[in-house]
C-alpha cells in the first residue's frame, strides 16, 4: 500500500550533474543553444567567467549573507552516483576555500562563486584524517566566513546549513539554505565500521537533512552567522541503512585551515627541492613497492605489491594502500610520487600518509 502511495507522487531521477568534464571540454563562450537545448542552461552560466549582478535586489537577511560566502565546486565524478560537484566556503578574503577532501578533488577543481565568477582552483592543503581540503583561487576582497577559535555551539542550537546540494544552483544562482538545529555532539569513532569515514573525531549531529549529494563542504552557521561546522561527506549506517546528517565541528578544522591560510603548511609539492641523480635519490624500488599500472593520464598511487624485507614492508605498507602524502606533499598521482622521490636522498627516511579502506595511516619508511 505504501509503495503504491509513494508512486502517486511523481518524481524524476536527478538530472545528470554538470560534470567537470563537460565544463572543461567546452570552449569558453562557445555559442551554445538554449531554448532548443535546455539542459545546457546550467553549463552556459558555468562557462562564463564574468560577474553579473543578480537580477533580484539584494536581500538584507542573514541567509543571503551566508550564501555569498558559499561556493560551488566542480571536479571529478559524474558516474555511478558519484556526483562531480560539491560545496565549499570562503575562509579568507584572498580566496581560500575550505571543502571536504573527496574524489571530486581528484582533478584540479573549478570553483564558482556566488556572483557567478568561475575560477580554476589549486588544492593547496589536504588533511585526509579530517577529510578536509583547502583550495585557493586567484581573487581578492571576497566575502568570507571567519574560522572561530572555539566551538561555541551546543546541542539544541538552531543552525543554518548552506550548500549546493544536488547541484541545484549553477552560475550566479545562490546556494541552498536549510534550517534546523544541532541535535547532538558526539564521537563518530565509537561506531567505527558502521560509518565508512576516515574522520573519527567529534561531529555535530544535525536534525536537518543536510548531507545530500553535493552538500559536502557546505557551511553550517549559528544564529549569529558564525561558522560552527562544515557539512561532511554522505555517510550511511551500514547496519541500518540510515543516512547520517552531520557536520565536522569547526574547532577540529581550525588549526588545519589556519595553518594553510597563514602559509605555515601546504601540501603543494615542493618543486624547489633539487632533483638528485638517479642513483642518489629514492625511487619505488629502493622503497620496495610496486604501484598499480600507470595507464591513466593521472593514475592514483595505489600500491599493487610490497617487496619482502623492504623499507615499505617494514613500515607496514600493504597492497591496495593509497599513498596520499609524501613528507607532507600531496600525491595527486603516480607521476607526482616518482617525481618527488627523485628529490629525496635515498639515505633519508620518508614519511607517507596512506589510506587503507577508510582509515588514514601515517607510515615512516626507513632505508
Amino acid at each position: 500500500m505504501i509503495r503504491q502511495l509513494l508512486d502517486l507522487y511523481w518524481i524524476r531521477p536527478a538530472l545528470a550533474p554538470v560534470s567537470c568534464r563537460q565544463t572543461r571540454l567546452t570552449p569558453r563562450g562557445s555559442n551554445l543553444k538554449l531554448n532548443v537545448c535546455k539542459p545546457l542552461a546550467c553549463v552556459l552560466t558555468l562557462l562564463t567567467g564574468i560577474s553579473f549582478s543578480h537580477a533580484q535586489p539584494p536581500v538584507d537577511s542573514d541567509s543571503r549573507a551566508i550564501q555569498t560566502k558559499v561556493v560551488k565546486i566542480y571536479g571529478a565524478g559524474g558516474m555511478k552516483q558519484l556526483e562531480a560537484y560539491q560545496s565549499g566556503f570562503l575562509v579568507s578574503p584572498e580566496g581560500h576555500v575550505a571543502t571536504v577532501w573527496s574524489y571530486v578533488l581528484d582533478v584540479e577543481p573549478i570553483v564558482v562563486l556566488d556572483d557567478g565568477r568561475r575560477f580554476e582552483a589549486k588544492i593547496i592543503g589536504i588533511q585526509p584524517a579530517l577529510e578536509l581540503a583547502v583550495l585557493k583561487i586567484d581573487a581578492s576582497d571576497l566575502p568570507y566566513l571567519e574560522v572561530p577559535k572555539n566551538l561555541t555551539a551546543s546541542w539544541g542550537d538552531p543552525v543554518l546549513a548552506v550548500s549546493n546540494l544536488f547541484g541545484i544552483a549553477a552560475g550566479d544562482e545562490p546556494a541552498s539554505v536549510m534550517q534546523g538545529m544541532i541535535a547532538g555532539i558526539s564521537n563518530l569513532d565509537a561506531r567505527r565500521g558502521t560509518f565508512k569515514t576516515a574522520y573519527n573525531g567529534r561531529v555535530l549531529l544535525l536534525d536537518l537533512i543536510a548531507n545530500n549529494p553535493g552538500a559536502a563542504g557546505g557551511a553550517v552557521v549559528d544564529a549569529t552567522g558564525q561558522l560552527v561546522g562544515m557539512l561532511g561527506k554522505e555517510l550511511r549506517d551500514s547496519g541500518t541503512g540510515v543516512w547520517l546528517n552531520y557536520a565536522l565541528p569547526i574547532d577540529a578544522l581550525r588549526v588545519a585551515i589556519g595553518d594553510v591560510i597563514a602559509g605555515r603548511t601546504t601540501t603543494v609539492p615542493k618543486e624547489s627541492n633539487p632533483i638528485l641523480k638517479r642513483d642518489q635519490s629514492h625511487n619505488l624500488t629502493t622503497l620496495g613497492m610496486v604501484l598499480v599500472p600507470n595507464v591513466l593520464e593521472s593514475t592514483p598511487a595505489f600500491v599493487d605489491a610490497v617487496m619482502k624485507d623492504s623499507p615499505a614492508s617494514k613500515a607496514g605498507l600493504q597492497e591496495d594502500d593509497l599513498i596520499l602524502l609524501l613528507d607532507g606533499q600531496r600525491i595527486a598521482d603516480q607521476q607526482v610520487l616518482t617525481d618527488l622521490l627523485r628529490r629525496v636522498d635515498r639515505r633519508d627516511a620518508i614519511s607517507i600518509t596512506v589510506q587503507r579502506g577508510s582509515e588514514i595511516l601515517p607510515l615512516r619508511l626507513r632505508p
Partner: protein, 611 residues
C-alpha cells in the same frame, strides 16, 4: 534540554532576529524542564508562536486533499476562489481523469471536476462543487519571496488525511528562481521555489504558504536521487506568479501550452545574453531581433544570463504577447513580442498521453456518449499505462469497474479533443457573447450589414461596408472591394489598410450568429494586450482561413482589440476600438506596432434590412 523544548519558529523574515529569540530562552531551560507548567513563556516567543498559529489557521481551510475515487491515489490541492476553483498538479489529476473527490479541513468531502490542464507547467485547475462560499487562499507575490523566508506546506502526504485533516510542515525557502528540467518537454519547473519544509509523496499539487498564510506556490516535485521516495529536505514548488499567468488559460477548460521566443540564446562570456539563433517566422524577428541581438528585458524582468531567459520563458503561456527589450545594432528596441507555443496542439496531447506512468485524462477518441448523459465519461482506458510495474496502477485499473460520477458533477464534464473539460470553455463562450452584445442589444437584424463613415487622422473621408459576401472600403483615393474572404486574407497578408474589413466583419458575424455557428470558436484565456496588463479575456474564432481574436477588458467586458491573423509569418491586423459609452468613437488599424489607419467614427449604420 530544552532549548529544543523552547525552540520557536516564528513568523519573521530575518532569521537572525528569530534565532536570537531561540537563544534567549535557553536560560529558562533547567527551570522549564523541572516545572514545564509553572513557567511563563517568554512573551516574544509567545507572540511569535501566536503569529505562526494564526498563519496556519488562516491557511489551513484552503488546503485540499485530493482523492481519486476507487482508491486510485490522490494528492493535494489549494482553493483559490469562493466558487471552488482550485489548483493542483497535472500529475495528480492525470490518473483521475475528469472527476475526483476532495476533502477540506472542515471535515467535508466535495465532488470535484477537472477544469484545465497545463502539462508543461505541471498545473491543473479543478473545481470543487456544492458551495459558492469556499474558503480560499490569498495569493502572495512570489517574486518577493527570498531564500531564508519562513514558509509552510499543507497537504496530504502519503494520503494520510483520511480524516481530512491535512498535514502541516514548516521550514524555510532554501532558494528562489530555481530551474528544474522538464522530462522531455513536459513538467518543467521554471523560476520555482525550493523549500526544506517536508514535502512527501501526496503533497503534490498542494499549497506552500508564506509565514502569513498567503499562497506562495504549488508544491509538486522533490530531489530524491538515491534515498528513496521520501523527503530529503529539497522540495520544489511552482511559483504562484507563474500560476497567475495561467489562471485564465486554465479556466478555459483547455490543455494549454507554454511559450517560446522562437529564438535560442546564450550567455555571452563578455556579459549579457545574446541571440544565438532565431526563426525568421517569429514575431521577435519581425520586431527586429537578429542573431547576436542582446536581450535586456522580458516581460518587465531584466535578464543577463541564458538561465534567466529560460527561467522567465518557462513561466509564460503560449501565444502571449509580452514586452521585450533588446539591443540590436547599437539601438535599444522595446516592443511587444508575440510568443510561439512549444508544441503543436496535437503534439502536446500525444506527449501528455505518454509522458506519465498514469494514463492521460483525455481519451483520444471523440466522446461516444451524449455529454449530458450521466454515464461515466472519465473512464481510464485500461492497460494503457506504459509502465506496468508501478503498483499504483493496479489499483487504478481495478477501480475502473464502472465508477459512477454523481449527476451534479457529470453535468459539468464535457470531453472534447484538445480540451481538459470543454464544459468550462462553453461557459466562457457564453460570457463572451453576452459581453460582445452588451453595447448593441439583442436585435439580430442590426448585424446584417454595417456601414461606417468617418474621417481619418489626415482628414480624409472614409467609408467601410461589411455584410455577407460584400466587403468594401474607400479612403481618399484608395478603394477596396472584395466578395470573399480569400481576398481579405490577401489584404492582411500584404498589410493593407483593408485589413480593417475582416476584423469588422468577423465582429459583425460573431454578433449575428454567435460562437456556435461562427466557425470553430473557443475561449482562449487571458493574455496581455500588446504586452500590457491587466490580462484581457481572449476568445478565438476561425474566420475563413483567418484566426480572429477578440480581446476584452477583464472587469468591464469592453471589447478593446480584434486581431486577425492571416499567415503565421506575417503581422496580424489589429483593430483597436475606442469607446465613448456604448458608442464606438474611433477605430485604429495596426500591423506590428505601426498604426496604418486611424478613423474617428461619425456614422455607423447597422442595417436593419438584409438586402
Amino acid at each position: 534540554m530544552t532549548a529544543k523544548y523552547w525552540f520557536p519558529i516564528a513568523a519573521r523574515r530575518s532569521l537572525l532576529a528569530l534565532w536570537l529569540l531561540a537563544v534567549l530562552p535557553s536560560g529558562l531551560v533547567s527551570v522549564s524542564a523541572a516545572e514545564p507548567t509553572g513557567v511563563e513563556p517568554d512573551p516574544i516567543v509567545q507572540a511569535a508562536e501566536t503569529r505562526r498559529i494564526e498563519a496556519i489557521n488562516r491557511a489551513m481551510p484552503s488546503a485540499v486533499s485530493v482523492f481519486i475515487p476507487g482508491g486510485g491515489g490522490g494528492g493535494s490541492g489549494v482553493l483559490i476562489s469562493p466558487e471552488g476553483y482550485a489548483l493542483t498538479n497535472f500529475h495528480v489529476t492525470s490518473p483521475a481523469g475528469t472527476f475526483m473527490r476532495c476533502g477540506l479541513s472542515d471535515g467535508r468531502v466535495y465532488d470535484a471536476v477537472l477544469v484545465g490542464l497545463d502539462p508543461v507547467g505541471d498545473l491543473a485547475m479543478i473545481k470543487l462543487l456544492g458551495r459558492d462560499d469556499f474558503p480560499y487562499a490569498e495569493l502572495a507575490d512570489s517574486r518577493k519571496a527570498r531564500a531564508g523566508d519562513w514558509c509552510m506546506v499543507i497537504g496530504n502526504p502519503f494520503l494520510l488525511a483520511t480524516n481530512l485533516q491535512p498535514t502541516v510542515t514548516w521550514g524555510i525557502l532554501s532558494g528562489v528562481g530555481r530551474y528544474q528540467y522538464p522530462a522531455g518537454t513536459l513538467l518543467e519547473y521554471a523560476d520555482c521555489l525550493q523549500t526544506d519544509a517536508s514535502v512527501n509523496p501526496g503533497n503534490s499539487g498542494g499549497p506552500i504558504y508564506n509565514d502569513e498564510g498567503k499562497l506562495l506556490g504549488v508544491v509538486g516535485r522533490c530531489s530524491f536521487e538515491k534515498r528513496g521516495r521520501v523527503n530529503v529536505g529539497v522540495g520544489y514548488a511552482i511559483s504562484i506568479n507563474q500560476a497567475k499567468n495561467f489562471l485564465g488559460y486554465l479556466r478555459s477548460g483547455r490543455v494549454v501550452d507554454h511559450a517560446t521566443l522562437g529564438a535560442t540564446v546564450s550567455t555571452d562570456p563578455d556579459g549579457g545574453v545574446v541571440v544565438s539563433n532565431i526563426l525568421e517566422s517569429s514575431d521577435a524577428y519581425r520586431r527586429g531581433m537578429r542573431y547576436n541581438s542582446e536581450i535586456l528585458e522580458i516581460d518587465g524582468r531584466p535578464v543577463s544570463t541564458a538561465n534567466e531567459v529560460q527561467n522567465i520563458m518557462g513561466t509564460l503561456p503560449a501565444d502571449w504577447r509580452v514586452n521585450v527589450a533588446f539591443r540590436e545594432d547599437g539601438k535599444t528596441v522595446r516592443a511587444p513580442v508575440r510568443l510561439m507555443s512549444v508544441h503543436r496542439q496535437d503534439e502536446l496531447i500525444e506527449k501528455m498521453g505518454s509522458a506519465l506512468p498514469p494514463p492521460p485524462p483525455v481519451p483520444d477518441e471523440p466522446p461516444k456518449d451524449d455529454p449530458k448523459d450521466d454515464k461515466a465519461p472519465a473512464d481510464i482506458p485500461e492497460g494503457k499505462a506504459p509502465n506496468g510495474d508501478l503498483p499504483g496502477q493496479e489499483t487504478a485499473a481495478k477501480s475502473k469497474k464502472k465508477r459512477s460520477i454523481p449527476e451534479a458533477a457529470s453535468k459539468l464534464i464535457e470531453e472534447r479533443r484538445g480540451f481538459a473539460n470543454y464544459h468550462f470553455n462553453r461557459l466562457e463562450q457564453q460570457r463572451f457573447l453576452t459581453q460582445l452584445l452588451k453595447p448593441f442589444g439583442d436585435e439580430k437584424s442590426q448585424f446584417n450589414r454595417w456601414q461606417l463613415s468617418g474621417k481619418t487622422a489626415t482628414g480624409e473621408d472614409c467609408t467601410l461596408l461589411v455584410r455577407d459576401d460584400e466587403f468594401a472600403m474607400e479612403v481618399g483615393q484608395f478603394v477596396f472591394e472584395a466578395t470573399n474572404k480569400n481576398e481579405l486574407f490577401e489584404a492582411i497578408d500584404r498589410n493593407l489598410i483593408a485589413g480593417v474589413l475582416p476584423a469588422l466583419d468577423a465582429w459583425r458575424t460573431m454578433l449575428r450568429v454567435g460562437p456556435k455557428s461562427f466557425g470553430e470558436t473557443y475561449y482562449k484565456g487571458t493574455i496581455p494586450l500588446a504586452g500590457e496588463r491587466p490580462l484581457r479575456d481572449c476568445t478565438v474564432g476561425i474566420y475563413g482561413e483567418m484566426e480572429v481574436r477578440w480581446l476584452m477588458h477583464p472587469e468591464t467586458g469592453v471589447l478593446e482589440c480584434i486581431e486577425v491573423m492571416a499567415d503565421s509569418d506575417t503581422d496580424p491586423a489589429e483593430l483597436w476600438v475606442t469607446w465613448n459609452g456604448d458608442q464606438v468613437s474611433s477605430l485604429e488599424l495596426r500591423y506590428g506596432t505601426e498604426p496604418v489607419l486611424q478613423l474617428s467614427v461619425q456614422q455607423w449604420n447597422r442595417g436593419g434590412a438584409a438586402e
